[in-house]
């Protein structure tokens, strides 16, 4: 069973501005094995794949060995040359071209395309997978599952020895997943190794031989799948101790402020019902793609639902756009501060006051600049944003301070309900704690907070109640303090009973 070692990665480190994405990580893959790579979001899986497929270069001192010889991947073509092919989550295919050409592209003889060879290579690759497919069909006419098979066929057509599959089952239906498993089996028999990235435990136990777990950019361990059961694997992923102590025990004795009934939107979420109380932090958790962001965006008018009702203070309201949400005193701090939260090329004060400009006008309906400065300084002090230059461009602040600016931008609207998506994503440890403290303080002052988070530690430390989402539905609801934390994680990862 255990073939000889094909790939070894040692001391892999990767530093991004302000963040160490990987720290001395190791990984070895044997020929003909399915090796699962697991970890929470931000554990460093995707960075490791990018290094392995030649998209990113690791820090100096990192070592990659193929067939026990040290190699360097300067670009995508280098890793392909060594028989390593990645199938990215977005598949990286060409919808406007035929199946055959999608498989063939990247090869040429003296700048010419040999269509006979193209068809031949494509048909061979499809045959290896043991499926039938018209290779002349245009890719955009195929289902996502079939497109994925094309991506696999493309990878193995390069005489691949290691296939990296990034969340290959995320968009597949049950029967399609079955088909993928059988193809993985076939590839194994041809001595092709597969590095399988997945969130889903059941899947990992079904297909993989060994598992490597990463956490916060560090190597946790590599184990034979037979040595593990689901609980022990979850523990490896989440951390040594599963139980966390809440920062302090706040009871959500406040009045019910928001109630959502049977909110549904096709392809986004279904039958979402919950209540939110003043002074409470409600965590909305689950895996990526479970429909959490889609749900909270619906509450903020960014993604209006098809059906269902929203009650604010007992009154039924409509939220069709962002302005309505703001008028109803709802605020939303998005996850991606660079793309969605802040306008980086504008000053801190312009960013912070952007949502409330209409409220601070002079009698001639001009913007009251003095008020802008005053309000900004007020919040700079309140949240201790550093440096405190209000005219400085948002781009020039550190990640933690940018997050604070994003928070200030929404606190300034004096919201009753604050929705925050992944509050500490991409933030250093010190700012993390500060942001946690701030959220607690806001809740204590009576604000109702909905926090979307994939970090269990954060969920357990901060929230009063947890809603677990999976496949667009709420599958579990529990008190953080009294509830069973392991059960919550299991529900999110495994779903069902």
């Amino acid at each position: 069973m255990a073939g000889k070692v094909f790939l070894q990665m040692e001391n892999i480190s990767m530093t991004f501005p302000g963040i160490k994405a990987l720290n001395n990580v190791r990984l070895d893959v044997r020929e003909g094995e399915v090796h699962a790579l697991m970890g929470e979001n931000g554990a460093g899986k995707s960075t490791l794949i990018k290094i392995l497929s030649g998209v990113q270069k690791p820090d100096v001192g990192s070592k990659i060995l193929v067939d026990e010889k040290e190699v360097e991947f300067a670009g995508v073509s280098d890793s392909i040359k060594h028989g390593i092919n990645a199938i990215h989550q977005d598949l990286s295919l060409f919808p406007n071209l035929s199946v055959a050409e999608n498989i063939y592209l990247g090869r040429s003889k003296n700048g010419k395309v040999d269509w006979k060879e193209c068809t031949k290579i494509a048909e061979e690759a499809i045959e290896v997978l043991g499926i039938t497919m018209n290779v002349q069909e245009q890719l955009s006419n195929l289902s996502i599952a079939k497109q994925q098979l094309v991506a696999i066929a493309r990878a193995i057509s390069f005489k691949s020895r290691l296939l990296i599959m990034d969340e290959p089952t995320a968009t597949l239906s049950f029967s399609e997943v079955r088909m993928l498993y059988s193809i993985i089996e076939k590839l194994k028999k041809q001595n092709i190794a597969i590095l399988f990235i997945s969130h889903k435990l059941d899947e990992v136990f079904e297909v993989s031989d060994r598992v490597t777990v990463l956490k916060d950019g560090e190597y946790v361990g590599c184990k034979d799948i037979k040595e593990l059961d689901e609980n022990s694997l979850v523990q490896m992923m989440v951390g040594r101790s599963v139980a966390y102590k809440a920062l302090n025990d706040v009871s959500y004795a406040g009045d019910k402020i928001l109630e959502v009934k049977n909110l549904s939107k096709r392809g986004n979420f279904k039958d979402i019902s919950f209540a939110l109380h003043k002074g409470e932090i409600l965590a909305l958790t689950g895996l990526v793609g479970a429909g959490r962001s889609e749900t909270v965006k619906a509450l903020f008018g960014l993604n209006p639902p098809d059906s269902g009702e929203i009650y604010l203070n007992g009154e039924k309201i409509d939220i069709k756009n962002v302005s309505q949400a703001i008028r109803n005193k709802i605020a939303f701090i998005p996850e991606d501060r660079h793309e969605e939260g802040l306008i980086l090329e504008m000053s801190m004060k312009d960013n912070i006051t952007l949502p409330i400009l209409k409220r601070i006008l002079t009698p001639f309906r001009f913007i009251n600049r003095k008020e802008v400065d005053k309000l900004t300084e007020n919040y700079v002090e309140k949240l201790s944003i550093r440096p405190s230059q209000i005219d400085k461009l948002a781009r020039n602040f550190s990640g933690g301070n940018q997050q604070k600016i994003a928070v200030a931008k929404w606190l300034i609207t004096k919201p009753d309900i604050l929705i925050i998506d992944e509050p500490t994503h991409g933030v250093d440890i010190a700012s993390k704690t500060e942001i946690h403290k701030l959220l607690k303080k806001l809740a204590k002052e009576g604000m109702a907070i909905i926090m979307v988070s994939s970090e269990w530690q954060e969920v357990f430390a901060l929230s009063d109640r947890v809603l677990v989402m999976r496949h667009g539905r709420i599958v579990h609801e529990d008190d953080t303090a009294t509830g069973n934390q392991e059960l919550m994680m299991e529900k999110a990862i495994l779903g069902g009973n």
Binding site: F16, P17, L302, N321, V322, S323, A325, I326, F332, P334, E339, E340, G341, L342, I343, L344, E345, M346, D350, L354, P355, L357, K358, L361, R365, F366, I367, R369, K409
Partner: protein
């Protein structure tokens, strides 16, 4: 020097330098350049283009583009020309012409903001369409016989100053205040910088885009009517030649074609530079064809220059990391 560096950006200083340089060249090369008459006629000539360029500035700040600006101007000119020659009064004609401008703006905005066609492509299509409509309305001819009652717009003088010059500065002041001091202005910049973040901040991006494109079309309409009044004829292709110079002036004036920054003052200075170049060439007797060459070269040079600075900035930043 240090103080200057703090107060003005590099681009503003270069722009001011270029302005002074061309001004000096003009003053040295021909004694008529500095005469009051010449300066007033300079302003008279640049008003139409200036007004159109200011409209374009707004659209470009939102991260958009209006390639139909020139033909919008032509369409509006033909419209009021037709109305006037059919015996309608000055005021109703202007109102109808403005109405057509609003329709043009709405059409652009629908394509850009609602259907979400890339602005350059959308307005490339409407450019041709508006020209077509104008040609059909005018039957492909130029419309003459504009009644004298309409001449005031492009030929009248107030205290010795051409009316359109006052109009140019009046509109400039209005737009400067709008962009700098009103919520709409702030929203326009926010949108151009980051459409998504703007949406997330509660800005009604669609409204702002409609406002911007309609504003641009209305400015084109004003420019068109001034020209109809000045030359007493209306033609469908009246504004077509303006587009290039206007875009060049906007870019030269420091507004990035990617949107998000820039302003009216820069655009007005940019148009002044082009107007002076044209004026000097006329005075010295250089063929007007040089202007076309100069305009194109300046556009390409400025765009490439800005881009190089941007790439440099980006490189420096990534090296710091």
């Amino acid at each position: 020097m240090e103080k200057l560096r703090k107060r003005f950006t590099l681009h503003e200083m270069v722009l001011a330098g270029a302005f002074l340089l061309i001004f000096l060249i003009g003053a040295c090369s021909n004694e008529n350049f500095l005469s009051i008459r010449n300066i007033l006629s300079l302003f008279q000539q640049m008003s139409e283009m200036g007004i159109m360029a200011m409209g374009l500035t707004i659209v470009i700040i939102t991260g958009g583009m209006d390639l139909s600006a020139g033909t919008t101007m032509g369409l509006c000119a033909v419209t009021s020309g037709l109305c006037l020659t059919k015996g309608l009064g000055v005021v109703p004609s202007l109102i109808i012409s403005l109405g057509v401008a609003v329709l043009c703006g709405v059409m652009n905005a629908v394509l850009v903001a609602i259907i979400r066609i890339p602005p350059m492509i959308a307005t490339l299509g409407t450019q041709m369409f508006f020209l077509g409509v104008a040609l059909v309305l005018s039957k492909g001819n130029s419309i003459s016989g504009i009644p004298e009652s309409f001449y005031f717009l492009g030929q009248a003088k107030i205290f010795g100053m051409p009316l359109q010059m006052l109009l140019l500065f009046g509109l400039a002041v209005f737009l400067i205040i709008m962009l700098k001091n009103t919520v709409t202005g702030q929203h326009i910049y926010a949108l151009g910088n980051n459409m998504k973040a703007a949406l997330f901040s509660g800005i009604r991006t669609t409204h702002v885009l409609f406002y911007s494109y309609i504003m641009c079309s209305v400015m084109c309409c004003i420019a068109g009517n001034i020209q109809v009044s000045r030359v007493a004829t209306a033609r469908a292709d009246m504004g077509s030649a303006f587009l290039m110079t206007c875009i060049s002036a906007v870019v030269l004036g420091g507004t990035s074609i990617n949107g998000g920054n820039g302003g009216i003052v820069g655009t007005v200075v940019g148009i002044m530079i082009f107007a002076m170049i044209g004026n000097i060439m006329n005075l010295v007797g250089i063929s007007s064809f040089w202007q076309q060459l100069a305009t194109g070269s300046i556009l390409v040079l400025v765009v490439v220059f800005n881009r190089m600075i941007e790439m440099q900035k980006y490189k420096v930043k990534s090296r710091k990391v």
